[in-house]
């Protein structure tokens, strides 16, 4: 059953976009990936409106004290198995906000992240490559 589910995840992954405390740039680049120049909808990748419909969570920005419980709740609401992809340098190591009083540390302390896409912001090509790598991990 688990293997079957993972196989199902590989085809046409539906994506929910969670902006923790980002500067908006990664979010815009994610939307850019959907617009005509890259148009990932032709591979069946769709941005959905609810975490309950999603196979993949795209997280952007640093986690702060106010967004941490909300992001965890969104993660719990997502049907498992699901993939979590961290977009941007902020998700990798908090970027330059590491010393801020309101930032609670990198993502891997709080939820399992499958693939990190570094860059500030990563180019749309890099985001597509990250999603492809995440799907390849499923075997």
């Amino acid at each position: 059953m688990g293997k079957f589910k993972l196989w199902g995840l590989k085809k046409s992954p539906w994506v929910f976009h969670v902006a923790a405390a980002s500067c908006n740039n990664c979010d815009i680049e994610i939307l850019d990936v959907l617009t005509p120049r890259w148009d990932v909808e032709r591979f069946g990748i769709v941005l959905v409106g609810s975490p309950r419909h999603a196979d993949v969570l795209l997280v952007t920005g640093v986690l702060n004290r106010k967004t941490l419980p909300r992001v965890l709740r969104v993660y719990e609401e997502t049907p498992k198995p699901c993939l979590v992809i961290g977009v941007g340098t902020c998700t990798c190591h908090c970027h330059m906000f590491e010393k801020s009083y309101n930032v609670v540390g990198p993502y891997d302390r709080h939820l399992p992240v499958d693939v990190y896409i570094p860059g500030c912001p990563p180019k749309p090509e890099a985001i597509i490559m990250g999603v492809v790598k995440a799907l390849q991990r499923l075997g």
Partner: protein, 397 residues
């Protein structure tokens, strides 16, 4: 809202919802389909920029303030550099001033295109979104050509700019500008002639002039409500007083007027960039600064959403002692309360987005401790009163 009885219902929007990219929380209080009140709860994006700026050297801060917001990633460093130059009492060389103006205006076009696309998305007209964002891409290519990155440009530095625009790039920029002008004309015609868009935007979310003044709104939101306010005209800096352009003002105050202001501003921006390219002076691109004296300075820049204000105080060391930022959305978001009352829930989403809110710019001012809000507005007011009283006692003879 203690007086709410069973007749009213609450519709929560957020913090994670399909509509907008950033986390924010709106509580719509509705009676049937009609919105009668709005509560705004922000602070999800608080990252402590002002504190972090005080732990960095003056040269590092532009990179930090650039990451306040990805859309205005030129405006914040621009205003910061103006503030520090105000402390030093210097002006960048003319060529640097022209380059800054060009980048500022190109950023305005990119931001207005972005809003236009998202507005189409909010009314469920995804064709507008796809078309507009398709023609935003050449602009990002232009940024990559001039500055080497699509979004965070890192062009501003204290005393000038980091990169020159090479003369061999001028024809390429002109080419892109021609394309942008053609496409902006197309969008203006398409949006103003489309009966569907007119039906959704016209007469919706009217922000009256007196409300706009009372809330102190800025930028295109104010200019769509009949207030001709623009830092570029009121307090010209860099090359803005050396070029010929107009402020776009509409009286209606509805969402259509806001869209019209933004569309027509794109033409003005193209005009400014063309004139700057034509009259670009030769010379160096930065003034060398040995050290920053003690003192305080302010910088104001008209960002795509309104006036960005930066205040920097220096004590003669290599780090700012205080750095205060006010982003335009801080004023504009509050005006949603006046604009959204009386309209249906279906229009609320569009009205809330019509001020082009930028939450990541706004949310740096609330104080939190262990996840609990320490100071509310009232508390800060009380603290301020206490301080005033204390000072009065201290200095009264």
């Amino acid at each position: 809202m203690n007086e709410i009885n069973s007749k009213y219902r609450i519709v929560p929007i957020g913090p994670y919802h399909p509509l907008q990219e950033e986390p924010e929380f709106f509580k719509l209080i509705v009676e049937g389909e009609r919105v009668i009140d709005l509560e705004i709860n922000l602070g999800y994006n608080h990252r402590g920029h002002e504190y972090l700026a005080q732990t960095m050297t003056f040269d590092q801060v532009p990179f930090l303030v650039e990451r306040i917001c990805g859309i205005c990633s030129n405006s914040h460093p621009y205003a910061y550099c103006l503030a520090v130059e105000d402390i030093c009492g210097i002006k960048p060389p003319p060529r640097a001033q022209y380059i800054r103006t060009i980048i500022g205006e190109l950023e305005r076009i990119h931001s207005h295109y972005l809003w236009l696309g998202l507005a189409g998305h909010f009314i469920g007209y995804n064709t507008v979104w796809m078309w507009v964002w398709r023609y935003r891409e050449p602009l990002l290519d232009l940024f990559e050509l001039i500055m080497g990155n699509r979004n965070h440009y890192a062009i501003n530095k204290i005393g000038g700019v980091r990169r020159d625009i090479l003369p061999e790039d001028y024809p390429k920029i002109e080419e892109y500008l021609d394309l942008l002008e053609e496409k902006t004309t197309m969008f203006t015609k398409a949006i103003l002639d489309d009966p569907v868009i007119r039906a959704r935007l016209e007469g919706v979310g009217i922000l009256k002039k007196e409300d706009a003044i009372a809330y102190g709104v800025l930028g295109p939101t104010a200019r769509a409500s009949g207030i001709a306010i623009d830092v570029r005209k009121d307090d010209p800096y860099d090359a803005y007083d050396k070029v010929d352009w107009d402020i776009i003002v509409f009286e209606e105050g509805d969402v259509l007027a806001k869209a019209k202001v933004r569309l027509l501003e794109c033409f003005e921006s193209i005009k400014i960039v063309r004139q700057c390219l034509k009259n670009m002076p030769e010379g160096p691109i930065e003034t060398r600064i040995e050290d920053i004296p003690a003192g305080e300075g302010i910088g104001r820049h008209e960002a795509p959403r309104g006036e960005v204000f930066h205040y920097v105080r220096s004590d003669g060391s290599n780090m700012p002692v205080r750095h205060k930022i006010r982003a335009p959305s801080y004023m504009n978001i509050a005006s949603n309360v006046a604009a959204v009352k009386g309209y249906s829930i279906a229009d609320a989403a569009l009205i809330l987005a019509a001020v082009d809110p930028c939450y990541c710019c706004t949310e740096r001012t609330i104080v939190y401790e262990n996840g609990v809000k320490k100071y509310t507005g009232k508390d800060l007011l009380r603290l301020s009163w206490e301080k005033t009283e204390e000072l009065k006692r201290k200095y009264r003879r």
